[in-house]
C-alpha cells in the first residue's frame, strides 16, 4: 500500500520520489520533514546544537540549566517555609522587628524561584534545542475568487429567501418593532439615574438641615467655635454643626475659616463683591474649601501673600479679593460663606452659600 504524495507546489523538489509515509523503513526525521513539506514549511537551516553528544561544553550547559532549576526549587521551598514560619504579624514602630522583612523575603524568594525556572527554560531553549531556520508560506490575503463567488451567491440567495427587499412593509414593521425593543433593553440602566434636584446648590449650611434655623460652625470633632479661639493669621477647617456635618454625607460643606490681619481684613471688605458684602464677621472670613476647578480641597494657605493654593491642579486664589483665581485652571472664585456670631458667642452661617460651590456644571447659574 502506498500513498500518493502531491508534489510540492511549485517548489524545488528535493526528492523526485514521493515519500512512502507508511513504509516501515522510513526514519522518523524523514517523516518530520515530510510533515513540514506538506504544511508548506521549508527547512533553510537545521542542525543540532551539539553534533557530537557529550562534549565538555554540552555537559556544562546541562549543569548550568540544572543549577537554575535546583535553585528555583530551593527558593520555592524557602518561600513556603518563610510564608509559614517567618513572623509576619505587623508590629508598629519596631525598628528591628523580623516581621517587617516578611514581604521583602517573600518577594525575593518568589522572584528567585520564578526567575530560576525562567532562566533555566530560556537557556535550555537557546543552548540545547537545535538551531533552526524555517520558511513557511503565508497563504494570506483574500480567499480564492471561486470561493468568494460561491459564498457571495449563497449569501445573496439567503437574503433573497427572506424576501425583505421585496416586502418593504415587513422591513418597516421590523424596524419599528426592533428599535423600541432596543431602547427598552436600555431602560434598566434608568435605575442609576437620579435627579440632581438642588443638591448641587445646597450645602450642610443650609437651614433646611437644621429645622429652618441658621447652622452654626463646628470643628471636625463637633465642638462649636468662638471667634476669639482663632489667632490672627490662623485658619481652620469648619463644618456645619448638624448631625453628620463633618462626614462625607456633607462632602460639599468643608469651609475654610481664616482670621485675617487687620489691614488684610479691611482690604477684603473693600474688595467684596456686591454678593459678598457683609459676609465677613469682623476680621473673620469663610470660603468654601472645595476648589471650583474639579473639587479638590483648596487647602494650602499662604499667610504672607494671602493666597490659597489647590494642591491637585495648582489653582491659586486671592483671599483678600473674594478668593478670585489668579493662577491655574480654575475660573471662578471660591464662594464665600456669610458668617456672624450669635448671642451665645458662637460663629454661625447667616445663610447657605449664595452660589453653587465646587466644580462648574451646565446649569449652575440657573438657580
Amino acid at each position: 500500500m502506498s500513498t500518493e504524495v502531491p508534489a510540492g507546489e511549485g517548489k524545488k523538489d528535493e526528492q523526485a520520489e514521493p515519500l512512502d509515509v507508511l513504509d516501515p523503513n522510513v526514519t522518523r526525521f524523514e517523516l518530520v520533514k515530510e510533515a513540514l513539506r506538506r504544511d508548506g514549511v521549508e527547512i533553510l537551516h537545521y542542525e543540532p546544537r551539539f553534533p557530537v553528544p557529550g562534549t565538555k561544553e554540552e555537559k556544562r550547559v546541562v549543569r548550568t540549566i540544572s543549577f537554575f532549576f535546583v535553585l528555583s526549587g530551593l527558593a520555592a521551598l524557602g518561600f513556603i517555609v518563610a510564608y509559614i514560619w517567618w513572623p509576619w504579624e505587623y508590629e508598629f514602630g519596631g525598628a528591628d522587628t523580623w516581621s517587617k522583612w516578611y514581604t521583602p523575603v517573600l518577594g525575593a524568594l518568589l522572584g528567585i524561584a520564578l526567575g530560576g525556572i525562567g532562566i533555566g527554560i530560556l537557556t535550555w531553549s537557546k543552548k540545547l534545542l537545535p538551531v533552526e531556520e524555517l520558511m513557511q508560506e503565508r497563504h494570506d490575503g483574500a480567499s480564492d475568487p471561486v470561493e468568494r463567488r460561491l459564498t457571495g451567491a449563497t449569501l445573496v440567495h439567503i437574503g433573497d429567501e427572506t424576501g425583505v427587499a421585496r416586502r418593504p412593509m415587513l422591513k418597516r414593521a421590523l424596524l419599528f418593532g426592533a428599535a423600541p425593543l432596543g431602547l427598552a433593553a436600555l431602560m434598566p440602566i434608568g435605575g442609576l439615574i437620579k435627579d440632581p434636584g438642588d443638591a448641587l446648590f445646597t450645602t450642610g449650611f443650609n437651614p433646611k438641615f437644621n429645622g429652618g434655623n441658621p447652622v452654626r460652625l463646628m470643628r471636625e470633632d463637633g465642638t462649636l467655635i468662638r471667634p476669639e479661639e482663632i489667632s490672627v493669621g490662623g485658619q481652620i477647617t469648619v463644618f456645619p454643626a448638624i448631625p453628620g456635618g463633618a462626614t462625607l454625607k456633607h462632602a460639599d460643606s468643608p469651609t475654610l475659616l481664616i482670621h485675617l490681619r487687620e489691614p488684610d481684613a479691611e482690604e477684603a471688605r473693600n474688595n467684596a463683591y456686591e454678593m459678598n458684602k457683609g459676609s465677613q464677621w469682623e476680621n473673620l472670613i469663610a470660603y468654601s474649601k472645595i476648589c471650583t476647578h474639579v473639587g479638590c480641597p483648596a487647602s494650602l494657605y499662604e499667610q504672607q501673600t494671602n493666597r490659597l493654593l489647590c494642591p491637585c491642579h495648582q489653582s491659586q486664589f486671592h483671599i483678600t479679593n473674594n478668593a478670585t483665581p489668579i493662577f491655574g485652571p480654575a475660573t471662578r472664585a471660591l464662594p464665600q460663606l456669610p458668617i456672624s456670631v450669635d448671642e451665645e458667642g458662637y460663629l454661625y452661617a447667616t445663610s447657605d452659600y449664595k452660589v453653587a460651590i465646587g466644580p462648574a456644571f451646565w446649569e449652575r447659574e440657573r438657580k
Binding site: L36, D39, V41, L44, E57, W88, E89, Y90, T103, L106, G107, A108, G111, L114, G115, I117, G118, I119, L122, W124, S125, L129, E132, E133, L134, M135, Q136, E137, R138, D140, L192, I193, K194, D195, P196, A199, L200, T237, T247, L248, D252, P254, H293, G295, C296, P297, S299, P311, C312, H313, Q314, S315, F327, P329, T331, P359, A360, F361, W362, E365
Partner: protein, 536 residues
C-alpha cells in the same frame, strides 16, 4: 482469561489514538506544532502585557477573597496602630487588613499593583513598536483598533482598581473624575449623580466600581486580548525584511519546541520581575494616606503613571470657561472630555488616515524601519512628545519642588511646551530619519568606515572604506537598499573574532599563536600585512 499487561510506554500513543478517533486531531494539531514564528526582541513587548495580565488575574482573584467593597462606616481596630479608632469605610478597612492582617496579603496587593503598571507600560511601548514599524497596515488594522481599545480599557480598569481602597489619594482621584463628569454640557450633573448614586461621594460608587473591576472590564479585556492574540496567530506575525524574507513567507522557528519554550521562560521571568518588585519596592502605601475625607488632601497627589497625562493636561489647560444664556461649559470639559475623546479617536483613525495620504492599499507583511517612513516616525515622535509633556505636567508640583523651580513657571513651561515641542519633535525626527537614510546609502555606495586613516604621497589624508561588494572603477558599489540594517562597523562584517565563551576559563581554546616572523623582529600577531588598496 489472560490479563493483558499494561505497557506504560505505549500509554501516550494509545491516548493520542483514542483522542484522534473521536476528534480527528492529527492534521490540525500538526499545523499548530509546526507553525513558524519570526523572531525579534521587539515582538516580545506585547507578551509582557499579556503575561502581566495573567499575573493580574491570579493576584486579583486572591485580593477579591479578602476585599469588602462597602462604603459602610466602621471603626478601624486592626494591626496598624496609627489608624486605630478612626472612622473609615469598610473598603478601606479591608484594604488595610489585606496589607497588615492577612498573611502574605501585602505582597499580593503590591504584585497586583506593579503588574497593573507593567501591563500599561508594556501596552504603551508595544503600541509604539507597532506604530513606528508600520505593523498596523493592511491586513492588521483590526488588531490596531483592538489594541487602542485595550489601552483605554486598561486605563479604566486601572483607575477604577486603584479607586477601590477608598483611601485619601484615591478619593481625591474620584473627586476629580466627578468634577470632570460634571463638566459635560447638558447632562453633566446627571452623569455625576448616576456615577455616585447621588451627590459626591454617595455610598454606591465603590460597590459599583467593584463589579466593573472584577467582572465587566476584566471580561472585556480577556475577550479582546483573546481576539488580539488569535488574530496574530491567524494572520501570522509580521517580520523584518532580510535575506529570503518576502511578503509571502515567514522565516523563523517552529512553535514547538522553540517558540513555546521561549515564551514559557519569558513568562516566568516577567512573573519573577513582578514578584521581586512587589517584595522589594513599596507601591501605593494606602495606610499612609488615611481614609478619604472631603477636606483632606496632601501635596504631591499623583495618579498612577498612565493617568498622569490626563491629570497633566487638566493642570495645563487655561481657565477658559464659556458662559452664555445662563449656561456654563466648564474649562475642564475641553481637556477632560474632548481631549480624551481625541486621544481615543485619533489613534483609532490613524491607519485609515495614513492610507488616505499614502494611497497605499497593498497587503503588508514586512515591517518598515522607522527611518524609511520619516513622516510617520515624525507623527509618532510628535504624539510621544505631547504624551510626555502632559505626563510630566501631571507631576509638575513634584518637579517644581525637587528642582526648586517656580510652580507657575512649570505650568507655563508645560503650556508653551505643549504647543512648541511636538512640532519640533516632528521636524527633528524627520531630519534624523533622512540623515539615517542617507548614511545607509552612503555605506552601500562607498563601504564601511574602517577607522584606518591613510596618508597619500601628496600629503592627503583619507579614511579607508571597506566596500560591501566588488567596487567599480570609481570605487563605488551599486548595492540596493533592502529595508534592513546596513552593516556600519567592521565587526559586523566579521572582521573581528567573536569573544571567547566561558566565565572563569574559556571553553574554547584560543587559536594558537603563530610563531613570530622573527627575522625583522616585528612585534605583532605575525600575520602577513598587505597594503590596503580598497576604498581609495
Amino acid at each position: 482469561m489472560k490479563r493483558r499487561k499494561l505497557d506504560v510506554k505505549q500509554l501516550p500513543a494509545k491516548a493520542a489514538g483514542e483522542l484522534d478517533d473521536r476528534f480527528q486531531l492529527a492534521s490540525p494539531l500538526r499545523k499548530v506544532l509546526t507553525k513558524v514564528f519570526p523572531d525579534h526582541w521587539s515582538f516580545l513587548l506585547g507578551e509582557i502585557a499579556l503575561f502581566s495580565f495573567i499575573v493580574l488575574l491570579l493576584t486579583g482573584t486572591f485580593l477579591a477573597l479578602f476585599f469588602d467593597p462597602s462604603m459602610t462606616e466602621v471603626h478601624y481596630e486592626g494591626a496598624y496602630a496609627p489608624l486605630r479608632g478612626i472612622e473609615m469605610s469598610k473598603a478601606y478597612e479591608s484594604s488595610l487588613n489585606l496589607s497588615f492582617d492577612v498573611r502574605g496579603g501585602l505582597i499580593l496587593r503590591q504584585m497586583h499593583h506593579w503588574a497593573a503598571l507593567l501591563f500599561m507600560a508594556a501596552i504603551v511601548v508595544h503600541m509604539g513598536r507597532t506604530f513606528f514599524t508600520g505593523a498596523f497596515r493592511k491586513p492588521r488594522e483590526t488588531n490596531w483598533l483592538i489594541g487602542v481599545l485595550l489601552f483605554w480599557l486598561g486605563f479604566a480598569e486601572g483607575f477604577i482598581g486603584y479607586s477601590l481602597p477608598d483611601d485619601a489619594l484615591s478619593g481625591t482621584g474620584l473627586r476629580i473624575a466627578g468634577g470632570i463628569a460634571e463638566s459635560i454640557p447638558l447632562v453633566g450633573s446627571w452623569v455625576s449623580f448616576a456615577l455616585f448614586g447621588g451627590e459626591f461621594p454617595g455610598d454606591s460608587v465603590i460597590p459599583m466600581f467593584y463589579i466593573l473591576h472584577v467582572f465587566l472590564l476584566p471580561g472585556l479585556l480577556l475577550a479582546l486580548i483573546g481576539v488580539h492574540v488569535g488574530l496574530v496567530f491567524i494572520q501570522k506575525h509580521t517580520q523584518w525584511p532580510g535575506p529570503k524574507r518576502t511578503e509571502h513567507n515567514v522565516i523563523g522557528y517552529r512553535m514547538f519546541p522553540n517558540y513555546v519554550s521561549k515564551q514559557g521562560g519569558f513568562f516566568m521571568l516577567v512573573f519573577a520581575v513582578i514578584a521581586l518588585m512587589a517584595g522589594l519596592f513599596q507601591i501605593n502605601p494606602i495606610w499612609m494616606f488615611g481614609p478619604y475625607r472631603a477636606e483632606v488632601v496632601s501635596a504631591g497627589s499623583q495618579p498612577d503613571f498612565y493617568v498622569m497625562f490626563l491629570d497633566g493636561i487638566v493642570r495645563l489647560f487655561p481657565a477658559w470657561e464659556i458662559r452664555a444664556f445662563g449656561f456654563t461649559v466648564p474649562a475642564v470639559f475641553w481637556p477632560g472630555i474632548v481631549g480624551m475623546g481625541l486621544f481615543t479617536m485619533l489613534p483609532l483613525m490613524y491607519p485609515f488616515l495614513e492610507r488616505r495620504f499614502t494611497k497605499d492599499k497593498a497587503h503588508h507583511n514586512l515591517l518598515q524601519r522607522p527611518r524609511d517612513v520619516p513622516a510617520r516616525a515624525g507623527v509618532g515622535a510628535m504624539a510621544l512628545a505631547f504624551f510626555i509633556i502632559c505626563t510630566l505636567s501631571g507631576a509638575n508640583d513634584i518637579i517644581a519642588d525637587k528642582f526648586n523651580i517656580s510652580l507657575n513657571a512649570m505650568t507655563w513651561g508645560g503650556r508653551i511646551g505643549l504647543l512648541v515641542v511636538p512640532p519640533l519633535a516632528y521636524l527633528m525626527t524627520y531630519r534624523i530619519c533622512l540623515g539615517l537614510q542617507q548614511h545607509d546609502r552612503e555605506v552601500l555606495a562607498h563601504g564601511v568606515e574602517t577607522g584606518i586613516i591613510k596618508r597619500d604621497a601628496d600629503g592627503r589624508f583619507y579614511e579607508v572604506h571597506q566596500p560591501l561588494a566588488q567596487p567599480d572603477e570609481h570605487g563605488h558599489t551599486s548595492l540596493e537598499y533592502n529595508g534592513w540594517t546596513v552593516p556600519k562597523k567592521m565587526n559586523r562584517l566579521g572582521a573581528l573574532a567573536p569573544t571567547l565563551k566561558g566565565f572563569f576559563k574559556p571553553i574554547e581554546q584560543p587559536a594558537p599563536k603563530p610563531e613570530a616572523d622573527g627575522e625583522d623582529g616585528e612585534v605583532g600577531d605575525g600575520e602577513k600585512r598587505e597594503e590596503i588598496t580598497a576604498g581609495k
